[in-house]
C-alpha cells in the first residue's frame, strides 16, 4: 500500500481539458475537431491503463497540489475504487466519441463544436471525481461536472430542452449544497475530509446524531445524481438530450459519479463498521430497494424507448446502492461490479435507441413493430443487452446480481434478495416486448412473423424483397454502405417515426442498416457486456473490485 | 412625574438634542418636498452637533483659549470635532441643493412623489 507521487492522475484529468481549446479552435474543420476528441480519448485511456497494474499491485498514485482551503489539500489520488470508475469512464468515452460522430453527422445537429467541447469537459471532471482524494476535491469536480454537462442536456435549444436544463441544474446544484453541508459537518467533526479505506477513524467516536445527519446529507446530495427515488425525476427529463449524451453521461459518467460518491462515503468516509453502528446502512438499502421496484414498474408503462431506458437506469443504479447499503462483503463486491456491468449493458441499449432514432426517426416502442427487418444487428445487440439487464446467466448483469444476492442472504437481509429477483422479472417484463415486437411481428398486422417471412442471410439483387421501399430509395446497395442515400429525407420535424408506408424495407445482416460509426460501438459494447458475463475474472474490473473490498477489509 | 420635570429642568439641553434629532428625521422621511428634506437633514445634524457641545461643558470652564491665570477650561475636543462636522454638513447641503436645482430644472416640481411617478412613466 505504497503511495507513489506521480503526475499521472493530474494528466488523466487534464488531457481532455487541454483538448477543449483545440476542439473549439478547429470548429471550422469537423474532421480535425473529431480527431482531437479521439486523440484525447485514446490518450486518457492510455494514461489510466498505465496505472491499472500498479493499483492492482496495491500502490496508489498521488498528485498533491498544496492546500486549497485551510486543513484540506487539493489532492488527486488514483486508488482502487477511483480506478474502477476512472477506467470505466475513459474506456467507454472512446466508444461513445465514435458513436457521437456517427450520430451527430447522421442528424447533422447544430452546435456540434459546443457538444464535443462540453463532452471533453464533462469527461475531464468525471475523471476528477474518480481520482479525488478528499470530499472537498470530490465536491469541486462534482459541481464542475454539473456545469460541464448542462450544455449537453440543453443541447436542442428547444423550450423543452431548456426546461430540462433548468430542472437538471436545480436538482444537481441542490444536491451539491447538501454535499457541501455534509462535507463541512464531517470536517467539523473530524478535522479532515481525506478518504481513508475503512472509514475515518474519528467519525466512529464523533457524536452519533450529527454523524447520522452528515451521512444523510451526503447520501441525499450524491443520491440526486444517483437518481434515488424522491430525487430521480431530472433523469427521465434529461432524455431530451442527444442519445450519446444519454448513453455515456446519463448511464455512465454523471449518474455513476453520484453512485461513486455514495460508495466513497460508505467505504472511505464512514466505513462499513461505523455505518453499522450508526444504523444508516438499512435505510439506505431500503430506499434503494423501493427505488428499484417502483422504477421498474413505471418503466413498464413508458412508450418512449429512451424514457423506458431512463427508468431502467434509475432502478439499476439502485442495485449498486442496495449492494453498498447491505454492508456485507459479497454485496459490496456485487454492487461495485454492477457499476461496469450496468455501464456496458445500458450503453448498448442507449446506442441502439440512438441508431433507431437516427435511421428511422422512431422513438416510440409502439411504432417499432418488425424493425428487426430494417435494423437486424442493432436489435440483436439490444436483445443481448436487455437479457443481461434482466440477469440472464453468461451476461454481465448476472455476475454482479449473483454477488449482491449472496451478500444480502449472508447478512440475513433476505428481503432485499427477494426485491432483486422481483425486479429481475420486471426487467424481463419491460424489455422482452421490445425485442419480441422487433423480430416476431411486422408493422401491418401483428401476427405475421417477419423472421419467418424474411429468410436469414437476406436476399440478393434489387428485385429480392417485394416490399421494396416505395419512397424512391430504389438502389439498396448490397455492400451495405447506406452512405448518402437518405431513405427517409431527414426533415427535422417532430417524431413522426413509424415504419414507411410499405413496411420496413429489408436491409441485409451485414450492416446495411446504419453507418459503421454507430454499428461499431454498438457491437463493441454488446460484446463487452457478454465478455464481462462469460469470463468476469479475465476483465480487470472484478480484480479491481476485489482489491477495493480487501482495502476496506470487508472480505479476505 | 417629578422625574420628568427634574430631567426637563436640569438636562434641558439633552432634551433639545432629542427634539432636534426627532424633528430632523421626521422632516427627512415625512415631508414630500425635496428642499424640506434637505432642511430636515440639516436639523438632524445640528441636533447631533448640539449633543457634542453639551458634553463638553465644564462647570465654570473658560473658553478653550489659553490665557494666564485660568485653570479650568471647557474641554476643546468636541468643539474641534464639531467644527469639522459642520464643514461636512455644509458641503453635504451644498451638493444636495445642487442636485435639487438640477432635478427641479428637469422635472419642474419639488414633490418627491410626483417625481417618482414621472420617473416610472418615461
Amino acid at each position: 500500500m505504497s503511495e507513489i507521487a506521480s503526475l499521472r492522475p493530474l494528466a488523466a484529468v487534464l488531457v481532455s481539458a487541454v483538448a477543449i481549446p483545440l476542439i473549439v479552435a478547429s470548429h471550422r474543420r469537423p474532421n480535425l475537431r473529431e480527431g482531437w476528441t479521439m486523440l484525447a480519448a485514446l490518450a486518457k485511456v492510455a494514461i489510466v491503463a498505465s496505472m491499472v497494474p500498479g493499483v492492482l499491485a496495491g500502490d496508489v498514485y498521488v498528485t498533491d497540489m498544496g492546500t486549497f482551503v485551510a486543513g484540506v489539500g487539493f489532492v488527486l489520488r488514483a486508488d482502487a475504487l477511483g480506478m474502477l470508475f476512472g477506467a470505466l469512464a475513459s474506456a467507454l468515452w472512446v466508444i461513445t466519441s465514435l458513436y457521437s460522430v456517427g450520430y451527430m453527422r447522421g442528424l447533422d445537429e447544430h452546435g456540434q463544436t459546443r457538444y464535443f467541447a462540453s463532452f471533453a469537459a464533462s469527461l475531464a471532471t468525471a475523471i476528477g471525481v474518480a481520482f479525488a482524494a478528499n470530499l472537498v476535491t470530490l465536491f469541486i469536480f462534482y459541481e464542475l461536472l454539473t456545469v460541464a454537462t448542462y450544455p449537453l442536456v440543453a443541447h436542442d435549444e428547444t423550450a423543452e430542452a431548456r426546461a430540462a436544463g433548468r430542472k437538471y441544474l436545480a436538482y444537481t446544484f441542490g444536491g451539491g449544497v447538501a454535499v457541501l453541508t455534509g462535507t463541512v459537518l464531517v470536517f467539523w467533526l473530524t478535522g479532515t475530509t481525506a478518504f481513508t479505506p475503512g472509514g475515518i477513524v474519528a467519525l466512529a467516536e464523533a457524536d452519533p446524531a450529527i454523524a447520522r445527519l452528515a451521512f444523510a446529507l451526503l447520501a441525499a446530495g450524491f443520491g440526486v445524481k444517483a437518481a434515488l427515488m424522491p430525487l430521480h425525476s431530472w433523469l427521465p427529463d434529461a432524455m431530451v438530450a442527444p442519445t450519446p449524451v444519454s448513453g455515456l453521461l446519463h448511464a455512465v459518467a454523471v449518474v455513476k459519479s453520484g453512485v461513486f460518491g455514495i460508495a466513497r462515503v460508505a467505504l472511505d468516509v464512514f466505513g462499513p463498521e461505523t455505518m453499522r453502528e450508526l444504523g444508516v446502512g438499512l435505510p439506505l438499502a431500503a430506499v434503494a430497494a423501493f427505488t428499484l421496484l417502483t422504477a421498474s414498474v413505471i418503466a413498464l408503462r413508458k412508450d418512449n424507448l429512451k424514457r423506458r431506458l431512463a427508468y431502467s437506469t434509475v432502478s439499476q443504479l439502485s442495485y449498486i446502492v442496495l449492494g453498498l447499503g447491505v454492508l456485507s462483503g459479497n454485496a459490496i463486491v456485487g454492487g461495485l461490479l454492477h457499476i461496469p456491468a450496468h455501464a456496458f449493458m445500458k450503453l448498448t441499449l442507449f446506442f441502439c435507441a440512438g441508431a433507431v432514432h437516427v435511421e428511422t426517426h422512431t422513438d416510440d416502442i409502439s411504432n417499432m413493430a418488425g424493425i428487426g427487418r430494417r435494423m437486424p444487428l442493432t436489435m440483436v445487440a439490444f436483445a443481448v443487452a436487455s437479457a443481461g439487464m434482466a440477469g440472464i446467466p453468461l451476461l454481465a448483469g448476472f455476475v454482479s446480481k449473483w454477488y449482491i444476492l449472496i451478500g444480502s442472504v449472508q447478512s440475513g437481509q433476505a428481503v432485499f434478495a427477494v426485491a432483486l429477483l422481483v425486479s429481475g422479472m420486471l426487467n424481463i417484463a419491460y424489455f422482452w416486448p421490445v425485442v419480441y415486437q422487433a423480430f416476431f411481428e411486422s408493422p401491418g398486422d401483428h401476427d405475421e412473423k417477419p423472421l419467418v417471412e424474411s429468410v436469414l442471410g437476406g436476399r440478393f439483387g434489387p428485385g429480392g424483397s417485394e416490399a421494396v421501399a416505395a419512397d424512391g430509395s430504389g438502389d439498396v446497395r448490397p455492400d451495405g454502405g447506406s452512405g448518402g442515400a437518405d431513405p427517409l429525407g431527414h426533415t427535422d420535424h417532430a417524431h413522426h417515426g413509424g415504419p414507411p408506408p410499405g413496411g420496413w424495407e429489408e436491409r441485409g445482416w451485414r450492416g446495411g442498416e446504419s453507418t459503421w460509426f454507430m454499428l461499431g460501438p454498438i457491437l463493441a459494447s454488446a460484446s463487452g457486456a457478454v465478455a464481462l458475463g462469460v469470463a468476469p475474472a479475465v476483465f480487470v474490473f472484478l480484480r479491481i473490485v476485489r482489491t477495493v473490498a480487501e482495502n476496506v477489509g470487508v472480505i479476505g | 412625574m417629578s422625574a420628568v420635570v427634574d430631567v426637563l429642568l436640569t438636562r434641558y439641553n439633552y432634551v433639545a438634542v432629542v427634539v432636534l434629532v426627532a424633528a430632523g428625521l421626521y422632516l427627512v422621511i415625512g415631508d414630500r418636498n425635496l428642499v424640506k428634506k434637505v432642511i430636515g437633514m440639516n436639523l438632524f445634524q445640528t441636533g447631533i452637533f448640539l449633543f457634542f457641545i453639551t458634553t463638553a461643558v465644564v462647570e465654570g470652564g473658560h473658553p478653550p483659549v489659553i490665557e494666564e491665570g485660568v485653570e479650568t477650561y471647557v474641554s476643546p475636543l468636541p468643539h474641534v470635532l464639531i467644527l469639522t462636522a459642520i464643514v461636512v454638513g455644509v458641503s453635504l447641503t451644498a451638493v444636495a441643493l445642487t442636485l435639487v436645482v438640477r432635478i427641479y430644472s428637469e422635472y419642474g416640481t419639488l414633490r418627491a412623489d410626483l417625481i417618482a411617478e414621472m420617473e416610472t412613466d418615461d
Partner: protein
C-alpha cells in the same frame, strides 16, 4: 517605510487637485493624471502590504502626537489587503473608463477624492477620523452617481445622499457616545476603555447601537436598501462598476436581495440586488464573531469585489457592443459575441460559488465558521443563497447560450453605439470611429475573470495574512 501610509491618503488628494488644475489648460488630461495617480497609489499600497507582512501591525501618528491624543493611521493584516484591492480595482476601472466612462476632468477629480476617502477609511485608527473619511467617500460617491447624464441619476444620487448622510450622522452620534463613555477616540484605546467601563453601561450600549445602525444604513441592509440599486443602475457603467466593487466593499448588505434580483429584468439592476444579497453574507460572517467566519468574510469581500466589478464591467461591454441591457436582449448572445458571453458566464458561475472559483472559498470558511460557532440557521441561509444566486444566474446563462437569436439584430448594434456615444461628451468624436469597445475594456473583464478563478487558490494565503490580526481581535 511607514510614511507610505500617510502618503496613501494624502497623495490621491494632491492628484485630485492636480487633475483640476490640469483641467484648466488641457481639457482632456484628466484621465492621464488619474491613471498616473492610481499607479502610484498601487505602488504605495503594495509597499504598505510588504511592510505589514514583515513588521506586522504598523501604526503612524499624525503630527507626532501620542496615540490617545493624536489621530493614528494603522495598517494591519486586514486593512493592507483591502487597500491593495482598492488600488488595483481603481486602476482597472480607469482602464475600463478609458473609452466607456465620462471624459471631463471634474469626473476624475471626484474619482481620485473617492480613492483618497476609501484609503482613509481603511487606514484610519481614530473613530471620528473614520466619520470624516466616510463622509468624503460618501460625497465623492454621490457626485459620481450624479455624473450620469440623464436626470434619473440625479434623483438616485439625492436619495443616496439623504440616506447616506443619515447613516453617517448616526455613526457620528455613536462616536459621540463612545467618546462620552470613555474619553478617547482612538479605536484600540477605545476597545480597552470599553472593557474598563463595562460593556453593559448605558452609554456604551447606546454607542454600539448607533454605530451599527449608522453603518447598516450606509451599508443599505435590507430594510433600508432602497437607494443602492437605483444608484447602481442609473450611474454610468464605469461608475457603477467602481462603486459596486469598492464603496460597497467597505460596507456590507443582506441576503434577501437575491430574491429581488430574480424579479429584475434589467441586468445592472439585477446585479445591484445581487450585491445586496452577497454582502448580507459578509455581514453575517462578521457577525458570527468566529475567526474562521471572519476569514471567510474577508475572502468573500475580496472575491465579491473582483467578481461583481468584473460582471458590471462585462455588462457595460456587452451593452456597448450590442445595446443589450435587459436579460431578454441577451438572447443568443453566445453566437453573436462568444468572448463576452464566455466571460459573463465564467464570472456568473464564480458568483454562484462553483468551486474552485473564489466564491466557493469564502462560502466554505463562512459555513465552517457558522457551524463551529453553533449558528446552523446562518449556515443554512448561506447555503440556500447558493441556490438563490443560481436562480438569477442560470436565467442569464440560459438566455445567452440556449435561446434563439432575436430577428431584429442589426438595429441593436447601431442603437448601442448611438446610445452610448451620447454618454461621452462631445470631445469624444476626436477619438475617431473605433469599435465602441476598447481592447482595454475587454482586458479588464478578462483580468477580472482570471482573478476570480486564481484567487480561489489563494484562500490559504489570505488566511495566513489575516492570522495575526485575528489573533489580536479574537484573542484566540
Amino acid at each position: 517605510m511607514t510614511d507610505a501610509i500617510v502618503l496613501a491618503v494624502v497623495f490621491p488628494i494632491l492628484a485630485a487637485v492636480a487633475s483640476l488644475l490640469a483641467g484648466l489648460r488641457w481639457d482632456r488630461s484628466g484621465w492621464y493624471v488619474a491613471a498616473l495617480a492610481a499607479v502610484v497609489e498601487l505602488g504605495l499600497a503594495v509597499s504598505i502590504l510588504l511592510s505589514v507582512l514583515q513588521g506586522g501591525r504598523t501604526a503612524y501618528e499624525l503630527g507626532g502626537f501620542v496615540p490617545p491624543a493624536g489621530i493614528e493611521l494603522v495598517a494591519d493584516g486586514l486593512s493592507a489587503p483591502v487597500l491593495v484591492l482598492v488600488a488595483t480595482v481603481s486602476l482597472a476601472v480607469l482602464a475600463y473608463a478609458r473609452r466607456a466612462g465620462p471624459r471631463g476632468n471634474a469626473f476624475y477629480t471626484v474619482y481620485l477624492l473617492l480613492v483618497a476617502g476609501l484609503a482613509g477609511v481603511i487606514l484610519t485608527g481614530d473613530i471620528f477620523n473614520m466619520y470624516v473619511f466616510l463622509e468624503i467617500t460618501g460625497l465623492a460617491a454621490y457626485a459620481l452617481v450624479a455624473s450620469g447624464d440623464d436626470v434619473r441619476s440625479a434623483v438616485a444620487a439625492l436619495k443616496y445622499l439623504l440616506l447616506g448622510t443619515i447613516g453617517a450622522s448616526l455613526f457620528l452620534l455613536g462616536a459621540g457616545y463612545a467618546y462620552v463613555a470613555t474619553g478617547t477616540l482612538n479605536m484600540v484605546d477605545l476597545a480597552a476603555r470599553f472593557a474598563e467601563v463595562g460593556y453593559t453601561s448605558r452609554p456604551v450600549l447606546a454607542s454600539f447601537g448607533l454605530i451599527v445602525t449608522g453603518l447598516l444604513v450606509k451599508v443599505a441592509l435590507f430594510p433600508v436598501h432602497s437607494w443602492q440599486p437605483d444608484a447602481y443602475a442609473t450611474a454610468p457603467d464605469s461608475v457603477s462598476a467602481y462603486i459596486s466593487a469598492l464603496v460597497s466593499t467597505v460596507s456590507a448588505y443582506v441576503v434577501a436581495g437575491s430574491v429581488l434580483a430574480v424579479t429584475q429584468s434589467e441586468l445592472k439592476r439585477m446585479l445591484a440586488y445581487s450585491s445586496v444579497s452577497q454582502f448580507g453574507m459578509i455581514v453575517a460572517a462578521f457577525a458570527l464573531l468566529s475567526p474562521t467566519a471572519a476569514v471567510g468574510g474577508v475572502v468573500h469581500l475580496l472575491g465579491h469585489a473582483v467578481i461583481k466589478g468584473g460582471l458590471f464591467a462585462a455588462a457595460g461591454v456587452v451593452a456597448r457592443q450590442t445595446g443589450a441591457r435587459t436579460v431578454e436582449e441577451y438572447a443568443g448572445l453566445a453566437s453573436r459575441r462568444p468572448v463576452s458571453a464566455g466571460l459573463v458566464a465564467v464570472l456568473a458561475l464564480a458568483l454562484v460559488g462553483v468551486p474552485p472559483a473564489v466564491g466557493f472559498v469564502g462560502k466554505w470558511y463562512i459555513v465552517l465558521g457558522a457551524i463551529e460557532s453553533g449558528a446552523p440557521v446562518v449556515a443554512a441561509v448561506i447555503l440556500a443563497s447558493t441556490l438563490l444566486t443560481l436562480a438569477y444566474v442560470a436565467r442569464v446563462i440560459e438566455r445567452m447560450y440556449f435561446a434563439d437569436v432575436p430577428a431584429v439584430e442589426a438595429g441593436g448594434e447601431r442603437a448601442a453605439v448611438a446610445a452610448d456615444g451620447g454618454e461621452s461628451t462631445a470631445a469624444d468624436t476626436g477619438v475617431g470611429e473605433e469599435s465602441p469597445v476598447s481592447p482595454a475594456m475587454i482586458a479588464v473583464v478578462v483580468l477580472a475573470a482570471f482573478a476570480a478563478v486564481a484567487l480561489g487558490f489563494a484562500g490559504t494565503a489570505i488566511q495566513s495574512l489575516l492570522e495575526p490580526t485575528l489573533q489580536g481581535v479574537f484573542g484566540t
